[in-house]
Symmetry: none
């Protein structure tokens, strides 16, 4: 989704107002829920807490969401979709393969740094067994892995990326490393600039940790 199509969606939402989803209150509740989920975890959060955080009555939640689980589902539909479309846009800004990957990683760190609550919820939920969000997670995960896979494949064609690697592993390897960096940052109390991890991460992706001595001087 590019800038223009994004605006179009906003307009459409304003016009059709499907089920109040573009309603200001819908967003307030969703944001409040994410704040609470991030603080206590999904199962330890109560609908009452969310309502209080959102400044609405408990019952009001049910005018916008089917049930508690649905809040989580909507979170993946609304919030993270937005983020992932931003990732795609970022990748398309350049034609250079390594730069594409670097843009993706930086944007990923940037967005998760900007919305720490989302980061917390994302980290927690993707490792849980909630059947209601499992499909969404798979879908989103696949979206991300596909972006990475596309980049890698293009790089292989260009010659900047090794051909003797297992693509299915590599794409997960990259996502896993980024996830870990975010997780470490979250649990450290978010004291440092997360995006500063982009260059060291890229360096590890591209060159590994091995010392290739001699031949390295040719690079």
């Amino acid at each position: 989704m590019n800038e223009r199509s994004f605006i179009l969606v906003e307009i459409l939402e304003a016009v059709i107002s499907v089920k109040g989803k573009n309603n200001k209150k819908y967003k307030i509740i969703l944001e409040a829920a994410i704040t609470i989920f991030a603080k206590n975890g999904f199962y330890q959060s109560t609908v009452s807490e969310i309502a209080k955080e959102a400044g609405v009555a408990d019952g009001t939640i049910y005018l916008y969401f089917k049930n508690k689980d649905d809040i989580l589902v909507q979170f993946f539909n609304y919030k993270t979709r937005q983020v992932f479309s931003a990732f795609k846009a970022e990748v398309e800004k350049t034609d250079d393969t390594v730069a594409k990957l670097e843009n993706l990683v930086r944007k990923h760190l940037e967005e998760f740094q900007r919305d720490r609550n989302m980061a917390f919820v994302y980290q927690a939920v993707t490792h849980q067994k909630n059947p209601l969000v499992a499909d969404k997670i798979n879908e989103i995960s696949k979206m991300y892995l596909d972006i990475v896979a596309d980049i890698i494949e293009k790089g292989q064609q260009e010659g900047s990326i090794r051909k003797d690697i297992y693509l299915g592993l590599v794409k997960r390897f990259i996502l896993g490393a980024v996830d870990t960096v975010i997780n470490t940052w979250l649990y450290s109390g978010a004291k440092y600039d997360l995006t500063s991890m982009t260059d060291p991460l890229m360096d590890l992706f591209i060159r590994g940790i091995g010392n290739s001595e001699g031949g390295k001087s040719l690079e």
Copy 2:
């Protein structure tokens, strides 16, 4: 704890039988709990389910565990400690840095493949906000990261590992990648041999994904 002292502890446990901790039933319940936690997640599991799986009455659980949370805490004390001491032993089998890392990764994949329930619980809980196990997780995580850090540092001294890397990042990068591989395997339904991922993973750690052309042939 080395091999010998470990055996000693086993013997001692068999002799003193401290409050049933080495009791057969204690292990049955713990194993049952992990099975249930792995299937449904901690918060969606009930004590009744665990009791049923263990083949005991609900009340019996409370003869061995203070409360539901305590089962999780005991799991980390009993089960994973065992695993991590196995990791350490595996690392000490060789002096070669790269082989040490490879042994660690292989053992990690091997153990988690062998006990899939443990793997599920471990994956889920390490990404949750359960204040009761948070400290244990940090402790175990640190243990693992320290093992990796020791290997890396030794490799840097020997010259097999690059010196221009950020150690704090690298150790987490490696743990994150292994975690992701395990997670993918778990959610794929454990259809393939997890340990077969050792070599491709090591290759990515050491050489990265970048194509260093010319010079590479020298390696």
Copy 3:
């Protein structure tokens, strides 16, 4: 608290409606709880029974009371405080010492006769070791004993009460005797008019059981 300030409090309660404390349902539940406590005793009463008696769902109890113990605590805060302020008012109605004591005793018997459930709970709880209400009981007990002590002291100054008595004992002696009379009435099935005991009780307090004819005056 005098008559006027008491009315003021009633009005204020009606206006501010602090968290349902003056709520109709709060009173219904409290009254139901006292009925059940009076019938079975505190520890043999269940929250379900109270809910049933009050005509509400079990969970509703917890909207008005923190837990089962809290119901008892609230009972002492709300119900008996009211009674004891009535005692004080009654004492102030006259300046004659003996009449003051008589008014107190009569009002005491009157109030406990009127609310037999309260009487049962009061009798039971004041002789129990419930740490949650122990402080309240001490406080209320002290209030009562202080009223009696004030009357006795005033009587001693006036000359209507003997000076060679141990005040700390006398005040408890009086409370103890009244309590016993109430207790007897309760366990007899409340078949007679409790307030009719006022005169005989007062007579015993003032004159004792001894026959003072002849020689007694020499003492």
Copy 4:
């Protein structure tokens, strides 16, 4: 029960050994139970606690007592009966009415001071609604009240006690006052000598609190 018949019972118990009631362990458990009941109250005490205090296994309790309630019932049969027969003996030591009452009161305070646990349990249980011990309590209470009534009636015949009093009230009035004095002592932490209350109590019983100087003789 007089001295002789009491000894007879002891002998009989030693011979027939009905259901182990004269067993050493029976007494140990009963004593332990009273200690625990005195500390926590009956309903807040567990059979396990009693077993631990007695130094026996939980199951052993049920070899000597039908159930938890039965321990309380036995307590009244075994322990307090013993005490009340001592009361009777004490009363019979003199022929002087006032001295009889004084002996009773002193013995009462003495025994309850000597066995504080018994005192606590007695105070608590006599004010509770336990249907299992209700009958026992009534029976014991009646025994005590009858002793007092006998003394009073004899005193009335002799002329030392007023005739214009209500006997049903007076006997309870005396028991209530003694009870209150014991209760106050218990909850004060048993810091002073309880028997020292005998004289002041007797003084209040006989002479009352009224000042009979001058005009009072006209009443």
